[in-house]
């Protein structure tokens, strides 16, 4: 008998990785929303009497060379890093998904054109492309976001196209063509719902790359600008003091690591939950 399967969204069946991922990200998101309000100190307030203080009861993660509280700065930087990751990925999706869908559905010349163009973009190291986009104009955070979005769009194109190609072989697409469905219906009502889950997994990994690239760009001075407390920028500024006061670099570095691992675990868990074949029979 085909028993009604427990639905995919029954949390009792969620894999452990999803729970751990969520547990790691939840506080980060709370901190990002709270921003300066949850920080014990004002993030850019200098205090020259307390420069380069080691971690202690007053300053949990010590202070930097201007006497700013590293813990507060890291907390405030969360918002910027997460915004950077999420919005850059969103831009990648907005650019990449339609192109991938069209390439996989239309095939032929349009596909060649889209894929070769994205191959060209892919052949450059992302950081170099980021620098290229940012170098011509004065650096700013929103420009870094757009640059990262563009740089990672070809990856989304490739993934979307691959899934579309696979789906186009399926008989339910043939059945739709047999009914005389329009291309728009096939793309949006038959293919898109099936692309979403694998793409969501891919996207969660893209966010990680975007955050890391953003940090790297800030590190070389192309992204966030002082006195911002972007993690990448913080690590860059901590560089001269690494031996003297390692906590200035370690604190944002640790935050970065938690974010990356958390999102990765979440993506892993999502993969298991979103696959319809993992729920009922089969």
């Amino acid at each position: 008998m085909a028993a009604a399967s427990p639905s995919a969204s029954s949390p009792a069946r969620w894999p452990l990785s999803l729970w751990i991922g969520m547990a790691m990200l939840a506080p980060l998101i709370l901190v990002a929303v709270g921003g300066p309000a949850v920080a014990p100190y004002v993030y850019d307030e200098m205090n020259f009497l307390a420069r380069l203080q080691p971690p202690g009861p007053d300053f949990w993660c010590g202070t930097d060379e201007f006497g700013r509280d590293v813990f507060s700065r890291t907390l405030v930087g969360t918002r910027e890093s997460l915004i950077m990751g999420f919005s850059a990925t969103l831009i990648s999706l907005v650019i990449g998904m339609p192109l991938g869908l069209i390439a996989g559905y239309k095939r032929g010349r349009i596909e060649e054109l889209i894929m070769r163009a994205s191959d060209v973009l892919l052949s450059f190291p992302p950081i170099l492309l980021g620098i290229l986009v940012l170098a011509v104009t004065p650096p700013a955070l929103w420009k870094a976001i757009v640059a990262i979005g563009i740089v990672y769009a070809p990856q989304v194109v490739r993934v979307t196209r691959a899934i579309t190609l696979e789906l186009m072989q399926e008989e339910f697409i043939e059945a739709a063509r047999l009914r005389g469905e329009s291309a728009r219906y096939v793309l949006f009502s038959e293919i898109l719902p099936n692309i979403w889950p694998p793409l969501a997994v891919e996207t969660s990994l893209r966010i990680v790359f975007a955050i890391l690239l953003g940090a790297a760009l800030s590190f070389i001075g192309m992204g966030a600008q002082p006195p911002s407390s972007d993690w990448g920028l913080m690590i860059a500024e901590a560089r001269p003091f690494v031996e003297q006061a390692p906590w200035i670099a370690l604190c944002p570095g640790f935050a970065l690591a938690v974010t990356v691992i958390g999102i990765n675990l979440l993506g892993d868990g999502l993969r298991a939950v979103l696959d319809p074949r993992n729920t009922g029979r089969h």
């Binding site: 085909a2 008989e171 043939e174 059945a175 009914r179 005389g180 038959e190 719902p193 319809p276 029979r281």
Partner: protein, 691 residues
């Protein structure tokens, strides 16, 4: 060649005792095999049959230690020549497998490693178990290849798997399995992936090998006809339990357990009366573990009593040295499986007063090798269909029979304009169908539908059954939600599904239920014509009978015409009015089914019919010897496409000229150089065919 016998003839080669196996997954524990015992004596071939999910392959996997991490043997022993395999260490066990126990699996295409030559792979067990060097192994490999009937063993040994046909690959795998002269073979559906004519040769080979080397074997299959040909005794599995065992002839000719009775009754039979419904087994397969206090078959059994529902059945001896898991088997001995002949409704006769519904003229399809913008990447195309013409009347079932690669699916998809034909014309009720489809004529589309083979792939996994069936209704203008829901409910009950199934997703349904949904979706646009592309091939026998009955019913009540594409002669002879036999993209023979099954035969049809594995039934005469074709399939242009495998090739004329189409009685047409009179002199393949 024969291995010296080191165990007394009384010891079974394989002795499985009270085997119970469970699979554990995130969804809980499922019992796959419950209390299975079977013994195989030296030289004996035992068939293990059952439908999908019955646990038959799990038994084979347990013997081979291939259950995987999830499979756990709860209780039971597996004795090989008196040694319990479960007490052996992994190393000791590995030394037995491939050495004393050989195995051949279902899919030759994935069982060989594409990176090594066939010879290297056959030599592997020799090197591993017998301590041969590569140089010593080479002559033995050629000997083995010759033994499994390969003509040029030297050349084949140096070939890579992709250079061989499926039949050749399966022969190579059999050579691997017998390379170390094992005492025992496990054959897990070894011919299921092969064409009927190739299957016939492989079965013949296995039978002669077992005979010559006094090999014992466990033959796992869903195909009773093959088991009948190869196995001396048979175990029927249902819902993880053995329900009946005995000598093959006895069990098949005179089944005792209700399930076996139903299974045999539900098989379409070539020589049976046509235009009748098939007897079927209602319901779907249950699991023994789910019903610990009832007979596992009780829910589907027509002979069920209260006593069956209150007690789990034990395997008991019944008359004739047979074991049956049914307490009333002695009383049921004479009881036949109930038939549903009375349910057949009067058929709307195919009408011929108007022009045919579908006319196909000179249909050709060539697939491009590669349509690249780079000239050196373009390759010459493959001819899939070559000038095929036929007609389908209103309400007629036209069968299209051919082996894999014959172009039968391409024909089906071309006439629905899913594939654009390279040449030729498809006329649907007077209109050019391909042109109409290209211009987006939805009404024309609406009138011709398709039911696919793969019931899972043809439904969008993210849409409910209701949404899938409702979509064609929306397209035909039924936009009011309430009316649409009512129509969906009507269609669901039309195909025999409960109305609440509209809320379910395809993966929550069984294969047979999904195929019903596919049929309901095809019916939603009220078509006049449906292409059934291997629509019942992937289904279990009992489910297949249900779907065939449903299709017959719809044909009779709605006057639907079908193009029924299949490789299964028994199915085609059950449902089709007329048949096209196709080989290498060209038409060999065409005519009413009654004519196709009798001489004159096209040589290919004759071989195809003779290769069909059949069940012996009471009153059957001696079986006609099978016509065995060469494995290779030559389809070079010019001359007859079948000449490379034809057992009755006449000579140069077959190589040089396309065969003429000769017309016999009743619109029976044969494309062959051999004169009709000579073809008509052939002995009938089915002498027992009802007149």
């Amino acid at each position: 060649m024969r291995a010296p016998s080191d165990s007394s003839p009384q010891t079974p080669v394989l002795d499985v005792r009270n085997l119970t196996i469970s699979y554990t997954s995130a969804r809980g524990t499922q019992r796959a095999v419950t209390d299975v015992s079977l013994a195989i004596m030296p030289g004996e071939v035992v068939g293990l049959v059952g439908e999908s999910g019955s646990g038959k392959s799990t038994v084979a996997m347990a013997v081979l230690d291939l259950l995987g991490e999830d499979g756990v043997i709860e209780t039971g022993d597996i004795l090989f020549e008196g040694t319990d395999l479960r007490t052996l260490s992994a190393t000791e066990r590995r030394a037995l497998l491939g050495h004393r126990i050989g195995a051949v699996f279902q899919d030759p295409f994935t069982s060989l490693n594409p990176a090594y030559t066939v010879g290297d792979q056959i030599a592997e067990p020799l090197i591993r178990h017998k301590g041969f060097s590569a140089a010593q192994a080479a002559p033995r490999v050629e000997e083995l290849l010759a033994e499994v009937g390969i003509r040029e063993p030297g050349r084949i040994a140096r070939s890579y798997p992709h250079q061989l046909s499926g039949g050749m690959q399966q022969r190579a795998l059999i050579a691997t399995a017998i390379s170390c002269e094992p005492r025992f073979l496990i054959l897990d559906e070894p011919t299921t992936a092969l064409d009927v004519t190739v299957e016939a040769k492989i079965i013949e080979l296995l039978a002669s090998l077992c005979d010559r080397h006094r090999l014992a074997a466990l033959f796992v299959s869903h195909n009773l006809g093959i088991v009948n040909r190869l196995c001396s005794s048979i175990c029927v599995l249902y819902g993880s339990q053995i329900v009946e065992t005995g000598r093959t002839r006895d069990v098949l000719a005179d089944p005792v357990h209700p399930y076996t009775k139903g299974l045999i009754a539900a098989l379409p039979h070539i020589t049976a009366e046509r235009h009748q419904r098939l007897p079927s087994i209602p319901g779907t397969v249950g699991k023994a573990a789910a019903m610990p206090t009832a007979c596992v078959f009780a829910q589907r059994c027509p002979f069920v009593e209260d006593a069956c529902r209150n007690q789990a059945q034990a395997l008991r001896k019944s008359a004739g040295g047979r074991d049956t898991r049914c307490w009333k088997s002695d009383a049921l001995k004479e009881a036949p499986w109930p038939t549903e002949a009375g349910l057949a409704t009067a058929r709307k006769a195919p009408t011929q007063q108007t022009a045919p519904l579908i006319e196909v003229e000179g249909l050709c399809k060539t697939f491009d090798g590669g349509r690249s913008i780079l000239p050196w990447r373009r390759r010459s195309g493959t001819v899939a269909v070559d000038h095929v013409s036929f007609t389908i009347e209103r309400g007629e079932v036209l069968g299209l029979v051919g082996e894999s690669g014959s172009g039968k699916s391409t024909i089906g998809r071309s006439i629905l304009a899913l594939i654009e034909p390279s040449a030729g014309k498809v006329t649907f009720d007077g209109a050019d169908f391909v042109e109409g489809a290209r211009q987006g004529d939805r009404d024309l589309r609406r009138r011709a539908q398709l039911v696919f083979q793969n019931s899972a792939a043809s439904l969008n996994p993210r849409k409910t059954v209701g949404a899938a069936i409702a979509r064609p209704l929306v397209l035909s203008g039924l936009t009011e939600p309430k009316a649409r829901r009512e129509k969906v409910a009507e269609l669901l009950s039309r195909v025999g599904l409960p109305i609440h199934y509209a809320e379910r997703y395809p993966h929550e349904l069984s294969g047979g239920e999904r195929q019903r949904v596919n049929i309901a979706r095809a019916l939603a646009s009220e078509p006049e014509f449906i292409v059934c592309d291997e629509a019942v091939s992937a289904l279990d026998v009992s489910v297949q009978a249900n779907i065939l009955n449903l299709l017959s019913e719809l044909r009779d009540e709605l006057g639907l015409a079908y193009l029924f594409i299949t490789h299964d002669i028994a199915v085609i002879s059950h449902i089709a009015d007329r048949v096209l036999v196709i080989y290498g993209g060209t038409l060999c023979e065409e005519g009413p089914i009654e004519r196709i099954l009798r001489p004159p035969y096209h040589p290919y049809t004759e071989a195809l019919l003779s290769a069909v594995p059949r069940l012996a039934r009471a009153g059957d005469g001696p079986e006609r010897p099978r016509i065995l074709l060469e494995d290779t399939m030559v389809t070079t242009s010019g001359g007859c496409v079948f000449r490379g495998r034809c057992p009755r090739k006449r000579g140069a004329v077959c190589d040089e000229q396309a065969p003429p189409v000769q017309t016999a009685a009743d619109g029976h047409r044969i494309a062959c150089h051999i004169p009709l009179a000579e073809l008509a002199a052939a002995a009938p393949v089915f002498p027992d065919l009802v007149a």
